[in-house]
């Protein structure tokens, strides 16, 4: 099994190196194919590991080598494939393989094709380290690795200023959060003396609740940054500047779920501190509704999907915070499939429309892009949580968990969000594919994507459709490591009322979306309609003015402060000191150059002056020795 483990881990790395060799040379298709094949190999190895874990119920644990061993600190490069990490590995490898194949088509006209695959595979490698590591230090390496790959991929089109800005924003926000994470890890080591998950969690059972709360909060700050939870959420929507496959892989399916993975992985810690768990759940529910409202009005397909991702991450945190870790992980998996599918579909639309992202300028694309329409509609149905697609099983479970834990406020919020989710998902579906043809007038000539791109998306579509039925098997598997919490509504009556009620609510929302946005009098908004000038609309389209707030109250004062440090402290004090020393030496040389006139008489005078100085020193030292009492 070790062989498969190493293959699964290092195949993306080899692919990345291979593509990196061609980094500076012109586009070669081989630089895309080889990494994709290697990812396929990684996927197969992960599948073997999954079968192994399923059939034997045992985790595979290897220690590749010692990384640090000083004093009591022992950190190996250890890898653990248990029921949780194998789930993540499957998600990562499936989605990334699909995205790689898709990207061969999507990026085929890009000059930096080779560089793209080098970074994309490097990302997968980092993500694998993140999920497979058996200690916090390895997790942190992967954590930073995905951060840097994400930075490079968001800023992939670095000639666009908005892309570099978004990349830096994402990176800096993640750094802020990573500081919290790092403190959390330090606290873990400080209090337990180890970073290995197993030993650390074992030791935590005997620790004080106060310390555990601190650790839990700091680790969660790290998770908040990576998973873009409020108030560190603004980077995710801006990260859509990257190529669409990147958005599908990193900012929907894998990297942003790392925070959820961290909380799930630390379930033993969070089980001990239910107050922090409740906070996480509340924050998750808040983010779910908060992001969903922003998605209602946005006029950028990718941003709408990004907000939807944010909202679904809120769901996951709500589930994890309530102690339903397996539900959170299950929703993570289901969400990865349909959200990646949705993004890739969005990528097709974007390609067809020559990078136009405003759905109001589309309309009636269903005629030319039938396959994409079907796939995206399927993904949206799954996202909305309609039976029998994956979203129904996972999202419904979260609602049930909230209900049966008697957190009715969270339940209500999440239920309301489910309606919003259905509405905004079908709003863009309706605007893009149905209704009047608005794009021809604007000079667009859409065409369907390459057939192999569509075929590459089909596995995701199948998984998005049927993954929900795997829930019982999945439950049997993960309870080996996660708390076995089954949620049953006590009376069958309540259960059916809830389920059917939710379904009806969602269907009503979908119907409303279709009705509103399929009508023929939809125009490209020009900022004159009554709705666009209402306060609510302005609040939502400006993302609750939070980016504005950050800009005004954090970025600008910080910039002013930096300027003070630059102009006054660095230029005047630090540079001044250095320049001053140089000037002193220079002036000394300049002024004493006259001494070296070559005139013997002058030199003799200086010699006598030196003699006088030496004699004075002799006298001074002599007197010092005499009177110092030695």
């Amino acid at each position: 099994m070790e062989l498969f483990l190493y293959t699964a881990l290092f195949a993306p790395f080899v692919g990345s190196l291979f593509a990196a060799i061609f980094g500076a040379s012109p586009k070669t298709i081989i630089a895309g194919i080889i990494p994709s094949i290697l990812l396929g190999v990684s996927l197969l190895s992960s599948t073997v590991l999954l079968v192994h874990v399923l059939s034997t119920g045992e985790a595979v644990h290897v220690e590749m080598m010692t990384w640090m061993h000083t004093g009591n600190l022992y950190i190996p490069f250890g890898f653990l494939v248990d029921q949780v990490s194998v789930t993540m590995m499957m998600v990562v490898t499936v989605v990334s393989t699909v995205v790689h194949v898709y990207a061969i088509g999507y990026m085929s006209h890009d000059k930096a094709f080779n560089r793209f695959f080098a970074w994309l595979s490097a990302f997968v490698f980092s993500m694998m380290i993140l999920v497979m590591s058996d200690n916090f230090a390895g997790l942190f390496i992967g954590w930073e690795g995905v951060g840097v790959c994400s930075w490079a991929l968001i800023g992939f089109w670095y000639h666009k200023e908005s892309a570099t800005w978004a990349a830096n924003e994402a990176f800096i926000m993640n750094r802020i959060a990573d500081l919290g994470m790092l403190i959390g890890i330090f606290l873990v080591y400080w209090n337990t003396g180890t970073l290995q998950y197993h030993e650390a969690f074992e030791a935590m059972k005997h620790l004080d609740t106060g310390i555990l709360t601190t650790i839990g909060i700091f680790l969660f700050i790290g998770a908040m940054g990576k998973s873009a939870q409020f108030p560190l959420h603004t980077w995710l929507a801006d990260a859509m500047e990257g190529p669409t496959p990147v958005s599908a892989l990193i900012h929907a399916a894998t990297m942003v779920t790392a925070g959820v993975y961290l909380v799930v992985r630390s379930n033993e810690l969070y089980s001990l501190i239910p107050n922090v768990g409740l906070f996480i759940a509340s924050l998750g529910a808040f983010v779910a509704v908060f992001a969903a409202t922003m998605a209602l009005v946005n006029r950028d397909i990718k941003r709408v999907i990004a907000y939807s991702t944010l909202s679904q991450l809120g769901y996951m945190f709500a589930a994890a915070g309530l102690g339903a870790y397996w539900v959170a992980l299950f929703h993570l998996m289901a969400h990865a499939f349909f959200k990646a599918l949705l993004f890739l579909g969005g990528g097709n639309v974007m390609h067809a429309m020559s990078d136009e992202l405003d759905p109001f300028k589309m309309g009636g694309l269903g005629k030319t892009m039938k396959a994409t329409m079907i796939l995206m509609t399927l993904a949206s149905v799954a996202l909305a949580g309609l039976f029998p697609l994956a979203g129904f099983f996972s999202k419904d479970m979260i609602l049930e968990a909230a209900f049966s834990e008697h957190h009715f406020i969270i339940y209500t919020v999440l239920l309301f969000t489910a309606g919003l989710t259905a509405f905004y998902s079908f709003r863009i579906i309706a605007l893009i594919f149905h209704g009047e043809d608005r794009h021809t007038a604007l000079g667009f000539h859409p065409h369907e994507a390459y057939p192999f791109m569509i075929k590459a998306m089909i596995p995701l579509a199948i998984l998005a459709a049927i993954a929900g039925f795997a829930r019982p098997y999945y439950f049997d598997m993960v309870i080996a490591v996660l708390p076995e919490t089954e949620y049953h509504i006590h009376s069958a009556m309540t259960y059916w009322t809830m389920t059917i009620g939710t379904q009806l609510f969602v269907i009503a929302a979908i119907y409303f979306a279709y009705k509103k946005y399929m009508s023929s009098d939809i125009k490209v908004p020009d900022g004159t309609s009554e709705m666009e000038n209402s306060f609510k609309y302005k609040l939502l389209i400006n993302q609750y003015y939070i980016p504005y707030f950050y800009e005004e109250f954090l970025v600008k004062p910080y910039r002013a402060l930096s300027r003070v440090f630059w102009k006054d402290i660095d230029m005047k004090i630090v540079d001044g000191t250095v320049d001053g020393i140089a000037n002193i030496i220079y002036n000394t040389g300049e002024n004493t150059r006259g001494m070296q006139s070559g005139n013997l008489s002058t030199m003799l005078k200086w010699m006598v002056a030196g003699l006088v100085i030496l004699l004075s020193l002799a006298v001074i030292f002599g007197l010092t020795v005499k009177y110092s009492g030695v």
Binding site: K605, V608, L611, V612, L615, S616, A618, G622, V625, K626
Partner: protein, 191 residues
């Protein structure tokens, strides 16, 4: 009493002679004054009982060194062309006085002189010359030999340096000959 009178007398004479050496414009006066000063210094050596040193002082300095200088002066007209223009007199005198004061301070303050023990004590009843000879040829034999070699080297160097082109004398040549000589020299330097 006699010793004191002798000391002050010779001190006065020595200082006067050396003062003349450093102030006079005439090289010949300076040479004469220096020779006289050397002889007066030997008087101190006799007062201090260093008879052999006194004799050596007279022979070497007034005999050899002064004769050497006198011969050297014969080669060229030293008084010619040298203008003794001065910058700041205060600096010169000030520095000298300061160093003198500091040296006095060092030697008069009982910093170093407290615990000096004689390495080679003077033995009463034996002549100074004999004592000096014994010490010089036992304890200081190697420095003595080194000094001898050094003198030899200096002698050879003096002859080689001064003996180049002894047959030529710029003062006796006319201008055309000097120009010819210079051209030859330039040619040699260029090649």
């Amino acid at each position: 009493m006699f010793e004191a009178i002798a000391f002050y007398l010779f001190a006065f004479l020595t200082i006067s002679m050396f003062y003349i050496v450093v102030t006079t414009q005439q090289a010949l006066y300076a040479l004469t004054a220096l020779a006289a000063g050397m002889i007066f210094i030997s008087a101190f050596f006799f007062i201090l009982g260093a008879d052999f040193l006194g004799a050596v002082q007279i022979i070497v300095y007034t005999g050899a060194v002064m004769a050497l200088y006198a011969f050297g002066m014969m080669f060229f007209d030293t008084t010619r062309d040298v203008k003794e223009k001065q910058g700041n007199k205060f600096i010169i005198v000030g520095l000298s006085t300061l160093s003198a004061v500091l040296v006095v301070l060092i030697v008069s303050a009982p910093i170093v002189s407290d615990n000096i023990v004689a390495l080679y004590p003077v033995v009463d009843g034996i002549g100074n010359t004999q004592e000096v000879g014994v010490v010089l040829f036992t304890k200081y034999l190697i420095p003595f030999e080194v000094a001898a070699v050094m003198l030899l080297v200096a002698m050879v160097a003096g002859i080689v340096l001064a003996g180049k082109k002894m047959d030529l004398s710029l003062t006796l040549m006319n201008d055309a000959e000097i120009r010819e000589l210079n051209e030859e020299k330039n040619k040699k330097e260029l090649s």
